[in-house]
Amino acid sequence: MSDTTQTGPIPDKPATGDETGKHGEMLSADGRSLKSSLNRALRRQKLRALMLIAPLLIFVLVTFIAPIADMLFRSVENDIVTNTLPGTVEALDDWDHSVGEAPGEGVYDALYFDLFLAAEAKEHTKLGTRLNYEQTGLSSLFRSSGRGLDDVGDDYLDALEEVDERWGEGDFVYRLMTGTGPSETGFVADRVRVLEKMTSETLPGDVGFAPSEEIRQLLPATTLAYTDFATFTALVEEDVVAEEDPWEAVYVGLIEDLQTADVASYSGPEAEALQAAKAADIPLVPLKQFFADEDGDWLDPNVWATIQTYSPKYTSGYFLNAVDMQLTPDGISMRPENQQIYLKLFKRTMFMSLVITGSCILLGYPVAWLLANLPASRANLLMILVLLPFWTSLLVRTSAWKVMLQQQGVINDVLVWLGLVDDMNRLVMINNQFGTIVAMTHILLPFMILPLYSVMQGIPPTYLRAAKSLGATNWTAFWRVYFPQSVPGIGAGSILVFILSIGYYITPEIVGGTTGTFISNRIAYHISSSLNWGLAAALGSILLAVVLLLYWAYDRIVGIDNVKLG
C-alpha cells in the first residue's frame, strides 16, 4: 500500500564532544561539561532577550504590579491603631470585653499619654476616622477629647507654681529630668521610633535630651511624657528642648508619679523642688474620671471592645465589610439588613456585565460576519464605522446617550410623536439599569467585533460551501460548521467585554442613577469621598479575585487556547 508511512532516515546520534567525561557526560572543547557550556550560551541569549523587554517589564512592574500589590496589602493593613495608641493597646491586652465593664485606670492612663502625643502630632483625628468605619461616633469622640487634654495639666501646673515659681520654666524641668549618672538613651530611641511610626515619617537628628536611669525609675510617667515632648520638640518642631515650656502631660505624669515616688532619697538636680512638690500633696484627678467627664462614651465598654478588636496589625475587617459582614468583638457576623449593600452590588455588577456581554455578542456577531465577508473596499468602510466610537471621547458618547434616552430626549420624543407612548407616561430609560446596559453595550461593542472579525476572517468560505454541497441547509451549515469555528472569537470578545465592563466606572456613574451603578462606583466613592481606602482595596481585591476565578472557570470549560485575538 502506498499509504504506509515511509520511515524517514534514522536521525544520527547527537554529535559527540571531543571527550566523554567520567559519567559518560559530554565534554566540550575547553573541557567543561557540554551541558554547562550549552547553558552558558543559552543564558547569554536569555539575558539579551531580557534586556530587550526590560523597559516594558520595569514599566509594568512599577505601574501595574506594584499598585496592585499595594492595593492587596492595604485591604488587610491596619497598623494605625497600634501606631497611634501603642501604650493603650498594650494596656488593653488583658482586658476582657465580655465582662461588660470599662477597663481599669491603667488603660486610661496609657490612653492619656498616647492621645496627648497623637494630638500634638495631629494624628488622633485620623485614628478617629479609621475607627469610625467600624463604630460611628468614634470620630467625634477622638476629636473632642483631643482638645480637652491640656486642661488637667494646666490645673496641676498652677498648683505646682504656687509651690515653686520655676515649675513652668523649660530649663528647670529639663535639668530635673536630665538628672545625673547613666542616661536612658535606648528609651529615647524607642520613643523616637514610636513617633516615627505614628507620623509615618523618618525623623533623623539628635533629640538633645536623655533622662537619667535614676529619674526614670523615680518618675516613670513623667519621663515618658517629657521624652515624648523632647523628641517632638527637637525632631518635628526643630526647637531646643530646654528652651520650650513642657507639655501639660508632663505635669499630669508628675502628679501621678509623686503619689508613690520616694523623692526623699533622691539627690539629683532640683531634688529639693521635687520634695517640696511632694510635700504640697496636690490632689490627683484620676484619668478615668477625667475621660468620663470629657465624654461619657469613654466609659462605654463597646468603644473599648472596638478598639481592642481592631488593634492587631492586620485585619480581615475590610474584607468582611466588603461582603456585608462585620468583625465584632464577639466574632464575625452579618451586618444589619439595612446596611447590606456590597453583595447586592457585586451581584448586580455580574448580572449587568453578563447582559452587556450577551448584547455585544448578539449585536456584534452579524457585523463581524459582514466585515469578514464583504469585499475589501466596503469592509474597510464598515470597519471605520466600527472604530468610529474610539475616536470620540467616552464622555461625549455617554452624554450623547443621556440626550437620547432621557424623558425629554430624542427617543421619547419620537415615540410620543408616533403615538406609541403617552406624553404623560414617557419611558424612563436613563439613570437606571436599562440606560447603563444600552450605553455600555454601545461603548464596548468594538471590543467584541474586532476579535470576532479577526477569527472569522481566518475561516475560509469553502467550509460553508463544502457543508452545503454535502447537503446542509444554510442554517445547518452555519450552525454546525461556521459557528463552532467562530467560537474562539466569541470567547475572546466575551472575556474582553466582560472584564472591561465588570470594572467600568465612568458610564455607570453618568447614566446609572442609583439602580444602574456598579461596584466600581462604590470603590471610587471610597477612594475619593469617604477615604476608606482599606475598604476600597478590599472591594477591588474581591473584584480581581472574581475575574481571575471566572478566567479559570472559562479556561476549564472552553479552554484558553480557544481564545484567539487575531
Binding site: 502506498s2 499509504d3 460551501r465 463544502a466 447537503g471 445547518t476
Partner: protein
C-alpha cells in the same frame, strides 16, 4: 457537442458566460453536455476557469449568462443542498473542528439517516479509501494524502449521482497519485457515478477520463476522448498542451485536396500536411507532428513523401526509447523518439540524416 443531445444529457452547460468583476469574462461561451456515468476531465492551465465552471455547477457561483441543466432541470431552481452533488475541493475543506468520522457522517446526519446506518456507511467509506483506523483523528493530524482520501470519502459517502473533484491529487507524491488515479476511476465506474474532474496534469487527464475538455482562456478548446485529443488536436494550443510535440512555422502554399495541403516552412523546405483549421493558400500556419510519428528509416515511408535533412544535435538513451534532438528546417528543438528495437541505429552527434512522416500525421493548425 450537439445541442440537441441535451435532452438526454445529465449535465449540460448552454452558452454559459461568467464574469466576476463585470469587466472580463472568465468563462466565455461554454457549451458542454455529459451523459450519465461519464468521467469527464477539465484540463487547462492555471486560471483558465476550471474551478469557476465547477463552482457554477455546484451552485456556489451563478452564471452571468446562459443555463446550466442538471438532469433536465435548470440548476438555478435547485438550492445547492438539494442538488446531491458530491464535491472534493481544491483544498479539501475538511471541517477542522470535527474528527474524520464526524466529517464523514455530517452529510448523512443532515440527511437524517439513522445512527446505525450512518456508522455502517462511514465505516464502508473509510475502508474504501483504506483509512479505516483514522476515524478518530482530526484533519490536522493527517498527512496531505490522507486528508485527500478523506475528502474523497466524504464526497462519496452519501452516494451522490454527480461528483465534482477540483484537482484532488495536487498535493500527492507521484506514486500515491497514480494509485489514487486508479482508485478514483475504479470507484467512479463501479458506483456508476458521473464525475467532473479538474486537473492541469495532462497525463492524469488522459489516463482517467472518458472525455477530456481542454480549457484555455475561458473556452473549451477541444472536447474529445483522450486518444482523439492526442492524435488529432484541433488547434495548436491543444497540440502543444497535450503531450510532446514538434512545431514548425510556415505558410500554406497550396490546398491540394480535402485532406492534404502543401506548406512552405520558414526554414525553406516544403512539406505535405493535413489541413485542420487552415483554408486558403497564403495563410500562416503552424504544423505539428508527434515525436514518435517521425520516421528515419526510408524503407518504412511511402514513395513521394517529402524528406527533410536533419542534423543530430543530441542523442539520449532512455531505456525503452531513444530520444534524438535534431535541427530541422532551422528548428533546433525537433525531437524524434524511436523504439529501442534491435535493428534501431544509435545516432551520433553531428550526423546528418533524412527524416519523413506520413502526411496525415502532420497537422497544419492555426498559427
Amino acid at each position: 457537442m450537439a445541442l440537441d443531445a441535451n435532452s438526454e444529457a445529465f449535465v449540460a452547460f448552454e452558452r454559459v458566460q461568467k464574469s466576476y468583476d463585470g469587466e472580463t469574462l472568465v468563462v466565455k461561451d461554454l457549451n458542454l453536455s455529459m451523459p450519465k456515468g461519464e468521467f469527464l476531465t477539465m484540463l487547462g492551465p492555471s486560471g483558465s476557469g476550471k474551478t469557476t465552471c465547477l463552482m457554477m455547477l455546484a451552485g456556489f457561483e451563478t452564471a452571468t449568462h446562459g443555463e446550466i441543466m442538471l438532469d433536465g432541470t435548470p440548476i438555478n431552481n435547485i438550492p445547492p443542498h438539494k442538488r446531491g452533488i458530491g464535491m472534493v475541493f481544491q483544498n479539501y475543506a475538511l471541517f477542522p473542528h470535527m474528527t474524520v468520522a464526524e466529517n464523514l457522517s455530517f452529510p448523512l446526519e443532515v440527511r437524517k439517516i439513522g445512527k446505525s446506518d450512518r456508522e455502517a456507511k462511514v465505516k464502508r467509506a473509510l475502508d474504501m479509501v483504506q483509512m479505516g483506523e483514522f476515524g478518530g483523528r482530526r484533519p490536522a493530524q493527517l498527512s496531505g494524502g490522507q486528508q485527500q482520501r478523506i475528502a474523497l470519502a466524504r464526497a462519496l459517502v452519501f452516494e451522490p449521482e454527480l461528483v465534482l473533484m477540483d484537482e484532488p491529487l495536487g498535493a500527492l507524491d507521484k506514486q500515491l497519485r497514480e494509485h489514487m488515479q486508479f482508485e478514483i476511476t475504479r470507484l467512479a465506474h463501479d458506483l456508476g457515478i458521473t464525475t467532473v474532474y479538474v486537473t492541469h496534469d495532462q497525463t492524469e487527464a488522459l489516463t482517467m477520463s472518458d472525455r477530456v475538455a481542454v480549457f484555455n482562456d475561458g473556452r473549451i478548446q477541444q472536447l474529445a476522448p483522450p486518444d482523439q485529443l492526442y492524435e488529432e488536436p484541433e488547434n495548436s494550443f491543444v497540440a502543444q498542451f497535450i503531450g510532446e510535440n514538434n512545431t514548425m512555422e510556415g505558410t500554406i502554399k497550396e490546398i491540394t485536396g480535402e485532406r492534404t495541403c502543401l506548406v512552405e516552412l520558414d526554414g525553406g523546405a516544403t512539406i505535405a500536411a493535413r489541413p485542420v483549421n487552415v483554408s486558403q493558400p497564403g495563410e500562416r500556419t503552424r504544423v505539428s507532428i508527434r515525436p514518435e510519428r517521425v520516421e528515419m528509416d526510408r524503407s518504412r515511408l511511402q514513395d513521394g513523401v517529402h524528406l527533410l535533412k536533419a542534423e543530430v544535435l543530441e542523442f539520449v538513451y532512455m531505456g525503452d526509447i531513444f530520444r534524438t534532438r535534431l535541427r530541422v528546417a532551422g528548428n533546433s528543438d525537433f525531437v524524434v523518439k524511436t523504439r529501442n528495437a534491435p535493428d534501431q541505429r544509435r545516432l551520433k552527434k553531428g550526423e546528418v540524416v533524412e527524416i519523413g512522416w506520413l502526411p496525415e500525421d502532420c497537422r497544419a493548425l492555426d498559427a
